[in-house]
């Protein structure tokens, strides 16, 4: 998977110490274990060791143990629900050195960042609950049948673990923020009214979220639910869908405008279900409709997620699973959404493209990541795109530095600033004001501290003049 010497996932397991307290029953504690091909003794040993560490450290602090650093590994602990522990182990990167003909390994402990690893672990739990509900909810649902829980965990994590990429995880995973689409008031109100009409026409639709590309415009879900669903949409559902569309486009010409032939001119629309029936003319195929668990109005509310997309605008409809989602409803939704969403999407794109040139014309000599803890708004010019698939504009070292500065600022509750000059003569500045954070990389080798400070002020004036962001 990864080059030797790079950070890589060694193990990932979930256990509950109360399930096998007696000797000889230790294996009962293990709820899930990756890698699967290790023998049961190793699993028991590993779980036992973790349990021991957790119990041991408890004597020193009220807070549970978070990480264990060793020379070659890093272990992260997370207790998402009572008595359930999630543990992830990664290897510490190393480099080979030859000295006097002898090969030695040098381990770079500082290259594994605890906040990032913790974030990955937390995120994997939230992703699990998004599709399954909380662990205790599952137990309750299945009459405390631990085996069913194990099956569920296995079903989910056996695939999810493979998507974990400790190498390319960074500050953005820690923030796990949401990118909001900048939109003028009137267009935003139009989107709002569109959603209101949608929800009043289709009473089954309980929550709606509206996205344009990978940017959020509106969420009827609570912040925390939206945060994880946003993650799911932007890192999993949308990329997979786009790839599938791309392939389809290669095979059949003009896939989008399927309504062009069936209805009269002028009502051509580009609406399609992303989840749900792939073709509204074929009632036999309902497609895949994900089942999600959200906590917006009640805990572990089971909903079906229908996603409908026109051009690059998507509406996510969450329908309480008490209601039946049938083909007839989907056709009605398609009729309602198709035209309107296409119109809205093109209106937004007009505004979007009108704004674009201004930012690209002047190549900024700085890159920044901004995050607001209050609304989870996140913005990054460090990354090529939000999916992080196309890489970053700064060096890996600088990226790690950004994360370190950020966690420093967070640990200190006061507002403040940190200025760092890197080995490559780059300036990195971290700022925190109330609940907002920003880390900036300034690529001006000859600047002194005062000049850098002025640069940051200029940047804030340019980008954050409408908020209370202190300098």
């Amino acid at each position: 998977m990864s080059k030797p010497g790079q950070i890589s996932l060694l193990s990932f397991f979930i256990f509950n110490p109360t399930y096998g307290p007696k000797e000889g029953e230790e294996h009962k504690k293990i709820m899930y274990y990756y890698p699967t091909n290790v023998d049961i003794d190793t699993k028991i040993k590993q779980v036992g060791l973790c349990e021991a560490i957790i119990t041991f450290t408890r004597t020193f602090s009220d807070k549970p143990c978070e990480t264990l650093h060793t020379q070659k590994t890093r272990q992260v602990y997370f207790q998402p629900e009572k008595d359930f522990w999630m543990v992830m182990t990664v290897s510490v990167p190393f480099s080979e050195k030859t000295k006097d003909g002898q090969v030695s390994y040098e381990y770079h402990e500082e290259d594994v960042q605890d906040p990032v690893m913790e974030a990955l672990l937390r995120q994997s739990y939230r992703m699990f609950t998004l599709f399954n509900g909380s662990i205790y909810y599952l137990l309750q649902k299945f009459d405390n049948n631990v085996q069913t829980l194990q099956t569920r965990l296995d079903h989910f994590f056996s695939r999810y673990v493979l998507t974990l990429r400790p190498v390319s995880s960074d500050l953005l995973d820690v923030f796990s923020g949401i990118s909001f689409l900048p939109l003028d008031k009137n267009t935003y109100l139009k989107v709002q009214c569109f959603i209101n009409v949608l929800e009043s026409t289709f009473q089954q639709v309980k929550y709606t979220a509206f996205l344009y590309n990978d940017q959020l415009v509106w969420s009827g879900l609570e912040q925390d639910d939206m945060r994880i669903m946003y993650r799911y949409l932007t890192t999993s559902l949308f990329p997979a869908y786009l790839e599938q569309e791309l392939q389809a486009a290669g095979m059949a010409p003009s896939p989008g405008t399927r309504h062009a032939s069936t209805s009269n001119i002028g009502s051509v629309h580009y609406g399609k279900f992303v989840t749900g029936p792939p073709n509204v003319d074929n009632p036999k195929n309902m497609g895949k409709i994900p089942r999600l668990y959200v906590n917006t109005e009640e805990e572990n509310e089971e909903c079906l997620l229908l996603v409908y997309r026109a051009l690059t605008a998507s509406v996510c409809l969450l329908i309480n699973s008490q209601h039946v989602v049938n083909f007839e409803m989907c056709t009605k939704l398609d009729q309602f959404l198709g035209q309107q969403l296409s119109n809205l999407a093109s209106e937004i794109s007009e505004q979007y493209s009108a704004k674009r040139p201004a930012s690209s014309s002047m190549e900024p000599m700085y890159k920044y990541i901004y995050f607001n803890h209050m609304n989870l708004a996140q913005k990054s010019t460090v990354h090529v795109d939000s999916k992080k698939s196309s890489g970053v504009f700064v060096s890996q070292d600088t990226l790690k530095l950004l994360c370190d500065i950020s966690s420093d600022l967070q640990r200190n509750n006061q507002d403040g600033e940190t200025f760092v000059r890197t080995l490559t003569d780059c300036w990195v500045v971290g700022k925190k004001s109330d609940q907002r954070e920003m880390v900036v990389v300034i690529n001006q080798k000859n600047h002194n501290l005062i000049e850098v400070n002025d640069e940051v002020k200029k940047l804030c004036g340019l980008n954050f003049n409408s908020i209370f962001f202190q300098d």
Partner: protein
């Protein structure tokens, strides 16, 4: 007859002008220019009584009986009475302010030997036009000299004429030609006579029948939506067509172009009709069926690009029946008055423009009035209903009522309909606001909208609609929020600033239902415009929703006039250093009250923080006055003492060693 209440949308006013009915001795004239009824007893020798809805009391006087009176009309200022008794001349009597008359009359004969006066109209105070068979003669009267001067004449062979007066003059329509269908509009305005382009009314060509000429009684004029129209009734428009129609010719504002046929109102009935114009609606009374219909030329209709065809707004219904006390005919019964069911659509009715019905036998003059409430249930399409109501005067209460009803549980209409109606209401609101602004730009009192349109502003909506539905717990909050957002959208798209109370209502609704995240998103996208009251409201929500604090601070920052408030917020949170940095950035260090900061710093019990803040202000003192000592007016003694207690007197430099 409560059950009957809802089925009539036209009524006659309940206080008619009563006059002595027409009889052998008693002649009755109506002057539609001044809206006055003249009852003339025995040619005037037994007295003349003049009554009208616009006159406070009636005018009574006597005049010599000099023969049969054909017509009599007061000048617009009621100071000269013109009487026509012969086809050759018109006589005048001057009136004094106390309504006593000069004893003697003076007169003016028309020009030419064979000319006959068909009638006369007052075009202005002291200006009169005689309409003769040969045209029109325009005179100016000098009442003091008791003489008339011919200003202008118009030569045209006239069959009949129609007159419509306006406050500044009037429009005379002269008919000529063999079929009397060549119409010549002549516009009169103070001292001048303006000929507008002549036009022809197309007459229906019926097979095997000679063309019927255009009759005077089928032609009227009226203002509809501030625009002058010539209204022509066509009994049989086309061969084979069933039912009469009303054709409207628009008289253009630009005087060069001739009147143009613009609208056709389909009556789908035939027989005798009479036309009124009430509140810019064309009301057509049909005698045979005893019903009336209304047409609204702005409502709906299909156009062929030139002419728009209209059908009645609602189905024909009779005028609301009513009873009246009238002098009884049976004196034997000892009653002098009896209740009569008034006969509607009586053969004795004469209809005048714009909205007058006279029953000369009964001696009554009514104005025709529109009842809006019954129409609410008769027009089921709410958009059409509101569009119709918005064009009416005095419809505000009804519209607000309709809108309120639309939101009530059980009667709720869909959001798209609400959206469209809100847009309609706000279109009018925006036009009104624009006019207000324009009126401010140019000199006041010059611009006046002739028609007072119904304006439904935000306070109307708030008090009559939103405040009511806010309290209704049966309406789901989602619907309330959706309606409010629709309203804000509609206003915002028209660049109308939204009032704070509308925002407040939205915020309260969201807060009461714990929709903080939604509220947060609205603020993030500036759906709720920034204001100090809104920022304060957000601050008050902080305990329930912590991010409200950040939102409030951001808003205050954007307002740029709220430095004081920002300082207060920061100090109240014990954010001393951010507060100090803020005043430094805002450049207001020299003007803020240092006491406020020192007090807050002392209260934190953080020695180091207090030291820092204290030193900061000392430095300011040095910069301002060359000494670190606080100005006595700042009342900082107790903080100086506190500082001394903490850090000793030595920590305070007594004076600065600057020369």
């Amino acid at each position: 007859m409560a059950s009957d209440e809802g089925s009539h949308y036209i009524e006659l006013c309940n206080s008619p002008i009563k006059f002595e009915p027409i009889s052998k001795q008693n002649n009755v004239f109506y002057d539609d220019a001044n809206q006055q009824v003249f009852t003339v007893r025995s040619g005037g020798s037994m007295g003349v009584v003049v009554k009208g809805p616009n006159d406070r009391g009636s005018i009574t006087f006597r005049m010599e009986d000099r023969g049969n009176v054909n017509s009599m009309k007061f000048s617009p200022d009621r100071r000269i009475l013109a009487i026509q008794r012969s086809p050759k001349s018109v006589e005048f009597i001057n009136f004094h302010e106390d309504q006593t008359t000069d004893t003697s009359e003076y007169s003016q004969t028309c020009k030419g030997r064979s000319t006959e006066i068909k009638g006369f109209v007052w075009t202005n105070v002291n200006e009169i036009v005689f309409i003769t068979g040969n045209g029109a003669e325009f005179y100016q009267i000098n009442p003091d000299k008791r003489s008339l001067k011919n200003l202008k004449s118009l030569n045209l062979s006239v069959v009949w004429y129609v007159w419509m007066s306006r406050p500044d003059g009037g429009m005379l329509l002269l008919s000529s030609g063999q079929l009397a269908n060549a119409l010549q509009p002549v516009y009169f305005i103070q001292g001048s006579m303006l000929k507008l382009p002549k036009f022809e009314v197309d007459l229906p060509a019926l097979p095997k029948q000679p063309k019927q000429s255009l009759l005077e009684r089928d032609v009227t004029m009226a203002y509809i939506y501030g625009q002058l129209y010539i209204i022509v009734l066509r009994h049989q428009p086309r061969p084979g067509a069933v039912g009469a129609e009303v054709v409207l010719y628009m008289v253009p504002q630009q005087k060069e172009s001739p009147a143009k046929k613009t609208n056709v109102l389909k009556l789908e009935m035939s027989g005798r009709f009479a036309i009124n114009v009430v509140d810019s609606l064309v009301v057509v009374h049909h005698q045979a069926s005893k019903t009336s219909v209304i047409f609204d030329i702005q409502l709906d209709g299909d156009s062929d690009g030139f002419v728009t065809n209209h059908f009645p707004v609602v189905s024909p219904l009779p005028i609301k029946p009513f009873k009246m006390y009238l002098p009884t005919l049976n004196i034997q019964q000892g009653q002098d008055k009896m209740e009569y069911n008034c006969e509607l659509y009586s053969a004795n009715w004469i209809v005048f423009q714009p909205n007058i019905v006279i029953d000369a036998k009964l001696g009554c003059l009514w104005s025709v009035e529109l009842k809006l409430e019954p129409l609410v249930t008769m027009i089921p399409d709410k958009c059409r209903l509101v569009k119709f109501l918005l064009q009416r005067q005095k419809s505000k209460v009804v519209i607000l009522d309709v809108f309120r009803q639309m939101l009530m549980p059980g009667m709720q209409v869909g959001l798209p309909v609400i959206s469209r109606i809100l847009d309609m209401l706000n279109d009018g609101y925006m036009q009104y606001l624009d006019q207000e602004i324009q009126a401010l730009a140019i000199e006041p009192s010059s611009q006046q909208d002739p028609r007072d349109r119904v304006i439904i502003d935000q306070s109307d909506m708030y008090t009559n609609v939103f405040a009511v539905f806010e309290d209704n717990s049966k309406i789901p909050y989602k619907f309330k929020v959706a309606v409010l957002i629709e309203y804000i959208r509609s206003l915002s798209q028209r660049d109308i600033p939204v009032q704070h109370y509308v925002y407040e209502l939205l915020i309260n609704t969201l807060v009461h239902n714990n929709c903080f995240y939604q509220l947060h998103q609205f603020l993030q996208y500036h759906v709720l415009s920034d204001s100090k009251p809104l920022a304060c409201l957000m601050l008050s929500l902080e305990t329930e929703y912590p991010p409200a604090h950040q939102l409030a601070l951001d808003m205050l920052t954007r307002l740029a006039t709220a430095n004081e408030e920002i300082i207060e917020v920061l100090l109240s949170k014990n954010q001393l250093l951010p507060a100090v940095r803020f005043i430094r950035k805002a450049g207001i260090t020299d003007t803020v009250s240092s006491r406020k900061f020192l007090e807050a710093a002392m209260n934190t019990l953080d020695k180091q923080l207090f030291f820092t803040v204290f030193k900061f202000f000392q430095q300011r003192n040095i910069r301002l006055r060359g000494s670190p000592v606080f100005h006595p007016g700042e009342h900082c003694e107790i903080y100086v003492k506190h500082f001394e207690e903490l850090f000793g007197t030595d920590a305070i430099p007594q004076s600065v060693a600057v020369s």
